[in-house]
Amino acid sequence: MDEVDIVVIGAGPAGSVVSHTLAEAGLSVVCLEQGDWVNPSDFAANNPEWELLIQEHWSHDPNIRKLPSDYPVDVVDSDMSPVMFNAVGGSSIYFGAEWPRLAPSDFRVKSLDGIADDWPISYAELKPYHDEVDRFIGASGLANDPAYPAGLEYPMPPHPLGLVGRKSAQGANALGWHWWPGTNAISTKKHKALEPCARFGVCEWGCPQGAKASFDLAYMVHAQKAGVKVVTGARVREITTNSVGLADGAIWIDRNGNELKQRAKAVVVCANGVGTPRLLLLSANKRHPDGLANSSGMAGKNLMLHPNCSVAGFYDEDLKSHRGPAGQLIYSLEFYETDESRGFARGAKLHVLPLPGPLNSIEAHRGNSFDDLWGTNLHDIARRHASGILWAANTEDLPEESNTVSLSSTIFDKDGLAAPKVNYRISEGTRKNLKFAVARMEELHQASGAKSTISTELWVDQPGHLLGTARMGKDPNTSVVDSWGRSHDVKNLFIADGSIFVTSGAMNPTATISALALRVARGIIAHGLKGEKV
């Protein structure tokens, strides 16, 4: 295939932003994506049986969903099962579109708390890129959250709190705790290809309205207009290098099993925090025997997954819990920062979502005894669909070299490529953090007047935040890429996804991933494909 300036691997949020930005700058760009396009009319919630469809056919977990675009993930030695969606738009097809930025402290964990590492960039350095992405996608929210420095604004007004958000906010007020109207990558007005939110309430299972800024709609369609060639059904098996060790393209397998090579002057990997290290390791060769860009040994290490926990509360009144967005209606950063008295470092972000659907209400009560759930009681539980509130939390996950993505020796995808093997154990500190967050969310429900609650201390099958496995840093001995996403080892190889996070924070990461991707792309434009303009 003809050589292009850039081959981008992966068409998720990072790949879409990188592709668009580089094409707008006049570079020729091919984006290789192993999945294909998904239409808003495809999603489960277009059907009355949607609550059944999401249990397997449209599951979050690729090991259950098993779509042709999916690859298996070896989780036999993991406390959790990382999830991702493989399509144009990537995992943003299935994200909740909660759109918080990392806080200033997240970039300075070492300086502030004496643990992990500081990022080589700061909140202020990333802010202009955040603002630009927010304007491009039409992020919605209310300005001037006191949990951030001044100057944080959004281009679109926030969504209504709704009955669920107001009830939750009243509880937070009673406790004197921080809360703020949710910021979401969900349009409140018509914006480019995005429709205004119709509150379908099923954001995490695909938006039937096309209001959620999944990056197929929010960015990639614009990237195509700018000249990007998006190749779907293209599973990359290797990034290739030339005689002097520079990347010269990618070998990919099409949907019929044929191998092709896309030659390029530079390669940008945007395959998520599991797929990216997998590909770097699959690309080992004589010059790079431990995997591409891995002289530090850090490719695949320091996996962070933001263990989630939640407390569902059920109330007497009709809260119209079928209404979205979901999306976060409100969030609280009251417990975001370190408080040594808690016995663990860092904290959690708490957020409120509705709990749509009678079968989902039943599923939430699976822990009940047989007699308390089935028979005549079932009707009362199904009716709770209207009165449910979910307080959920991301806990900050600190980097540990023992939490890794490597190559499975026993599981392979349909093209014969080794599956990523995840070795992940939840640390003692994170366990404490989870317990602490659950206790606070119980308090919030009690303060709001919940009649019953169901707590889940760990969502085993829901870590979609895949971070840290190709960390950025100044030192080539301890990091994979520099602050511009450029590989220390291979000067025309870039990484622009959640892999390059140094620490995880506790914020939903896609806003930061997107801002970093924009910064990586701008760096390529400013510094040249091989850094020759530096």
């Binding site: 999945g35 294909d36 396009w37 998904v38 049986e49 949607w50 059944l52 249990q55 397997e56 056919h57 969903r65 779509l67 042709p68 675009s69 144009v88 806080a103 200033p104 970039f107 300075r108 960039i121 700061s122 006191p146 949990a147 420095p149 007004p157 926030p158 969504h159 209504p160 709190l161 958000g165 107001r166 906010a169 007020n173 004197g176 703020w180 109207p181 205004p196 119709a198 509150r199 379908f200 309430g201 779907t232 949907r255 019929n256 009709d318 079928h322 009251e334 659907g357 009678p358 079968l359 599923e363 699976r366 089935w374 028979g375 005549t376 079932l378 009707h379 009716r383 669909h385 209207a386």
Partner: protein, 159 residues
């Protein structure tokens, strides 16, 4: 060539065809697990349940044979009491099978239009907010205590 195959969208058969034996087993399971109240009808009393069960089986799993296997193992329990006992035992001995079969009967029942109306569930539908709803939600000063407490973020180098 498989170029027309959807890669990122599941291929879901809309509805299976249940033979009479499988239907009778499944509707009895529904009667046991769902029951009835003064206002909520017994599943077997609803003519629409058969079609709904056939949709539910297809929607719940791509491995329909797994469902049929569970039904086969429960087919010998022909009365409410013995099936109730068998389902209780299944819920303990094989929670995954029990989850599958119970979600099918519950899902099929609660997606019926007449049942959704009974429990006040409109489904996931378009429900546009009024243009000033977000503003009105804050108009009574609910956010004021948060604003009055002022800044809570931790100052960090380089912000």
């Amino acid at each position: 060539m498989e170029t027309s195959k959807r890669l990122s969208v599941p291929h879901v058969v809309k509805q299976v065809k249940l033979d009479e034996d499988k239907y009778q087993t499944l509707i009895l399971i529904a009667d046991v697990l769902i029951g009835e109240t003064e206002i909520d009808p017994l599943p077997s009393s609803l003519e629409t349940m058969r079609g709904s069960l056939e949709i539910a089986v297809a929607a719940r799993t791509r491995n329909v044979a797994d469902v049929y296997g569970i039904l086969s193992s429960l087919a010998r329990y022909k009365d409410h009491k013995s099936l109730d006992d068998a389902l209780r035992a299944l819920s303990k001995s094989d929670p995954d099978d029990f989850q599958m079969i119970s979600s099918i009967v519950a899902g099929s029942y609660f997606m019926l239009p007449e049942i959704k109306a009974l429990i006040g569930y409109p489904g996931q539908v378009k429900d546009f907010p009024k243009f000033d709803e977000a503003f009105n939600d804050l108009e009574d000063g609910i956010l004021d205590p948060v604003i009055e407490r002022g800044s809570i973020y931790v100052v960090a180098d380089g912000e």
